[in-house]
Symmetry: C2
Subunit: 353 residues, 2 copies
């Protein structure tokens, strides 16, 4: 009858209904100490009944609480600019939530130097952060770091590559197997019907190599499952210098000629460079990632397709997941697979990372 709450219910209304002061209501809301179990239950009941939603504006205005997130990803190197995009996404998210009292600090490591990973990890532990986003590239080192975070009850999100079996808040990144599978499908559409395909893995660190194998697996399985006739060769290149890649490719291509070359990561631009310098034409080239170098060769028509998985959004959603979890208390999806985008020279200009 006398329900005259003018649209919004607040602590005041709750306090009135529970015959307590707003201070007490505030205590149970922020589950602080100093309130008896009995009244706590009573207030909780009313809160649930009213479906009370705290006013985030009033909360932010009155609160001086601050959260601090750390991010740990590879630094952008001369070898690849891939990690610019996730960093950009991280910064974008950081900018959006800085008014809500959270500060994001970025740490980096060298993909070719595990010790730099450990150094940054140590700094993060010492820094007493409230949440961490990381790219778990080195298995052993990451495992140690994850364990420490778990002990300190620091929520962790993984981006770009997963580490199944560990206790993390969520994973945001590609489904590697499926992206290889898709690549195979595209290859399958390319003429001629009976193709000779070369898979090229270029990666120095053995830990990273691991991910490439998942893509290769998806790639091969497509042809098996679809009974398509196809001859697949493969070459592993464990030195990332152009000279070395050049030599390896020359060796391989002297043995046989191919209709399609599938490079399992963003290093595809190096292969494209080789093709151009050696005047190799008519070979379809497929690779990964929306990088400036790659796009250049896409325009050149040396590269035919690029697969991309929204690296920027990975960074963005990664810190947003921490925010949603820690501030908004919303449930987080454990595995967030990125779309598998196909980039050609007709649609790259509209692509958003």
């Amino acid at each position: 009858m006398e329900k005259k709450n003018s649209g919004t219910v607040g602590v005041k209304e709750i306090a009135r209904l529970a015959n307590v002061s707003i201070g007490t209501v505030d205590r149970v809301l922020n589950n602080r100490v100093g309130v008896s179990e009995k009244t706590k239950a009573k207030i909780l009941k009313i809160i649930k009944e009213l479906d009370y939603q705290p006013n985030i504006f009033a909360r932010r205005l009155a609160s001086k609480k601050k959260l601090r997130f750390a991010t740990l990803i590879p630094k952008v190197s001369e070898e690849t600019t891939y990690w610019e995009a996730p960093l950009h996404g991280i910064r974008q998210a950081a900018n959006e939530i800085k008014d809500f009292g959270v500060e994001v600090i970025s740490f980096f490591f060298d993909q070719n130097d595990k010790s730099t990973f450990k150094d940054s990890a140590t700094k993060i532990i010492a820094g007493q952060f409230d949440g961490v986003l990381m790219a778990p590239m080195f298995e052993d080192e990451s495992a140690v770091f994850i364990k420490t975070c778990n002990e300190n009850k620091i929520p962790l999100v993984f981006i770009n590559s997963d580490m199944p079996g560990y206790n993390n808040l969520c994973y945001i990144g590609p489904n590697l197997y499926q992206s290889g599978y898709l690549s195979a499908h595209i290859v399958n559409y390319l003429s001629p019907a009976d193709k000779k395909t070369l898979i090229v893995n270029i990666s120095k660190e053995i830990d990273l190599h691991h991910h490439l194998l998942r893509k290769e697996e998806g790639f091969r399985n497509y042809f098996e499952e679809n009974g398509a006739i196809n001859q697949i060769s493969k070459i592993d290149i464990q030195q990332t210098s152009y000279a070395h890649i050049q030599q390896k490719l020359s060796e391989q291509l002297s043995k046989s000629s191919y209709d399609v070359v599938f490079v399992t990561n963003s290093r595809v631009s190096t292969v494209a460079k080789y093709f151009e310098e050696h005047q190799i034409k008519g070979v379809k080239l497929i690779g990964y990632d929306f990088l400036e170098d790659n796009i250049l060769h896409l325009k050149n028509k040396t590269i035919d397709f690029l697969i991309c998985q929204k690296p920027q959004e990975q960074g963005y959603r990664g810190v947003m997941s921490l925010y949603d979890h820690l501030v908004l208390n919303t449930p987080i999806e454990k595995e967030q697979f990125m779309p598998i985008d196909i980039i050609t020279r007709e649609n790259y200009q509209y692509y958003s990372n």
Copy 2:
């Protein structure tokens, strides 16, 4: 000396520096009447010097001002469920900004009945809204509506299809020409090298037909510009019933056989249905939009590729643009082209509209 402002500057600090009260500062901030030009200039100068950013939380807490947006898009019909997605995006945005005091009300019209468009438009004008999002499908009727909005200084955003030459806040949607061009590129990759292609336009209203022609133009121009040999036929179907489409397709396919069929809109599922019922195999089929029916045929392997342009995001970004403009005062990009996404049976499960 007594500068004790802890980090943030607010109206209080501005008022102190300008030797006025916070009330006066508030007046110039919200450019209300009742303040002399002289003091207004003085305050404005200080605001600029301090690079004052109002606290959005305090603002929202104290303000009871409300904004109202109207959206005007086709209703979802039995013919096509395409417009579910934009509506979903609109609702998502509405939900995100409702705490910021903006209410979004959706109006609809029937794509096959211009009078319903006029009815809804009239209601919107009568409703005194602060911003409008619309899909300007009917040229003449839209022009009238746009004119009225302009006179009332109501910002307008267009989604899904543009009306160049009119005064709108922004356009959010596909670049139709380019998406046709991309489709042609995909077709060009499909074996055999010398293909016979059929373009299928299915649309009742002549106004809508217009958009399909842009895609067709892009499609044709690809082959011209790239000097690829290709025989392109075309068929216009102006009745959307299955019986009629079936008849038209049968006529066309009896005259000649084709390697590739390109349907210029989401009606591609109807053609797929025809293919299945008539046991037509080996014809590559390309069409538009991530609709349940289409995906079904994609899985069936009847449809080979779908082009999609993030309809949900169009709705989302549409109302967000109004919000950014009206509330945050941020500059808005006039033309926001959506990415041109390629959907296959390998990546559809990860697609986000």
